[in-house]
């Protein structure tokens, strides 16, 4: 059975593609997470961002994945979701 086409069960009031979350208008009073995926020199990039955000008076929290080869562990994802409003992730070296 062809499983790659599904029929929409909804009233189709929303777009077929999932929308990205709206970007915040401002970072004021928001906590920004910086996720190092453990690729070489990712820290250089994130250090610089932290410096800039801190200079703007914005609270920053740092996280790192054990390895870039696997998705983040559930515990880490839950911790990040609980602690920050936004997350910046460096994807490649």
């Amino acid at each position: 059975m062809n499983e790659t086409i599904l029929l929409d069960p909804t009233a189709e009031n929303a777009p077929a593609q999932r929308l990205r979350l709206a970007r915040p208008d401002s970072l004021q009073n928001k906590v920004v997470g910086l996720l190092d995926i453990s690729k070489p020199r990712g820290n250089v990039f994130l250090d610089r961002i932290e410096e800039q955000l801190a200079g703007m008076g914005i609270e920053v929290k740092r996280y790192s994945k054990p390895t870039f080869t696997r998705p983040a562990p559930v515990e880490l994802k839950q911790k990040i979701a609980a602690e920050v409003d936004l997350l910046v992730e460096g994807l490649a070296d």
């Binding site: 062809n2 086409i5 599904l6 029929l7 069960p9 909804t10 999932r18």
Partner: protein
Amino acid sequence: MITPLPDGLIVVAKADCPTCRLIEPLLAELDKAGPLTVYVQDSTDYAAALAGTHFDQTLEHSWRLNTEFVPTLIRVENGREVARTYGWHKEDWRAITGLGAKLGETLNQNLPDMRPGCGSKTLEPGISERLELAFGDLKLQSRQIDISGIDDAIEACYDRGWSDGLPVVPPTPVRVLRMLKGTAREPHEVVGLMPPDLVPCTVEKVAVNAVMAGCKPEYMPVLLTALEAALDEDFGLHGLICTTMFGSPMIMVNGPIAKAIGMNSGGNALGQGNRANATIGRALQLIIRNVGGGRPGEIDRATLGNPGKYSFCFAEAEDSDWMPLAQERGIAPGRSAVTVFPGEGVQGIIDQKSRDPESLVKSIALSLRAVDHAKLAMAGDAVLVVSPEHARIFIEAGWSKQRLREALEQLLLAPGKDLIVGAGGIAEGIHERFKDKQVPKFRPGGLLIIRAGGTAGLFSAVIAGWAASGPVGSSPVTREVIL
């Protein structure tokens, strides 16, 4: 593509079919005698020397010719079919081809009088629906969502917010088409405006959600009737979806259809484990969620909700001594019907000692006082589910359902002074103005009685309704199931 039927003879065959192979040499004779079209379902290696042979790879021709068996022989005159036979029947073939006894004379063998054929490839499992989707008149209207980039269709459904929290069956076009076979109603027919978003809900959208809930096609008439009942103005579905209180549509089924589709009215009738009970109730909830937009945390503002919001559907264990619920509510005997009720959870009544109706009815009345709050009255309706062992105590003493209801109503009258605000040191209660009155627990018609459950156990159950009953909220609605 619609091609007119070619005049002359049409043969539909399968190289894999021994009977088709048996008659293959005859096709050259037919070809000489007049126009011949041969559709071969499975191969280019059959009657390949004839100009009129086509490999019907998509099976479109076979499908359009309603082929059930191979070989099928059809005679077409002026674009219309005038004769058909299938398998090998010598006399039929002689008559339809018009060759009479000359048929087969070039062969050095005696053809048997009869050989059955084989099934057409168009009828293999899963194929006929695909052909109907590809070539049929029915065009499904729902938006198609391509999930080929996602490795798990069930996860894709979760990601899109289509699930009640449990896995859903991915609603593929073939599954939806099969579901639609369960009803004679047109897929594009609008069943009603689905609250809370008040969008038109088509039979097709019902089928899509029924697939996801795990329904069988034969459940569709019950589901459609339940949806229609829930959309009745009296049921007040909009408010029920949005309320902070507990209730949600609960479905009670009466009549022959309950047995026909294998519903449970016996042991664990209010519990898990029966496909029809579980999936019909769930499908209605998924329609509310997906079509209506009634999602918890959004417009569904329930403070606590109840487990029945996954699914709550059962059948009455009908008994010749007690009038079934649907009949009490105006449905003719022997007909099937659905009653929807704004049900909360199940509260058990354990009475293992009463052996006469006088004791048992008092026992039940006392338990019914707990509906909403022991000090509230004429608020929520209630369904009393009487198990067979409790029902027997009433039936053997000659008590009808109606007599039981009247006795309960009498016992459930209470002095207003005990129920008013502040009485008993409890702030909750009814209005002061009832202080000097005898107050009934339920509004007129607010107590429904149904028989269900296993044959062992001196238990019954109360299913409380939404505290906003009647015109201000919800009234139970009964509808006949039209097949």
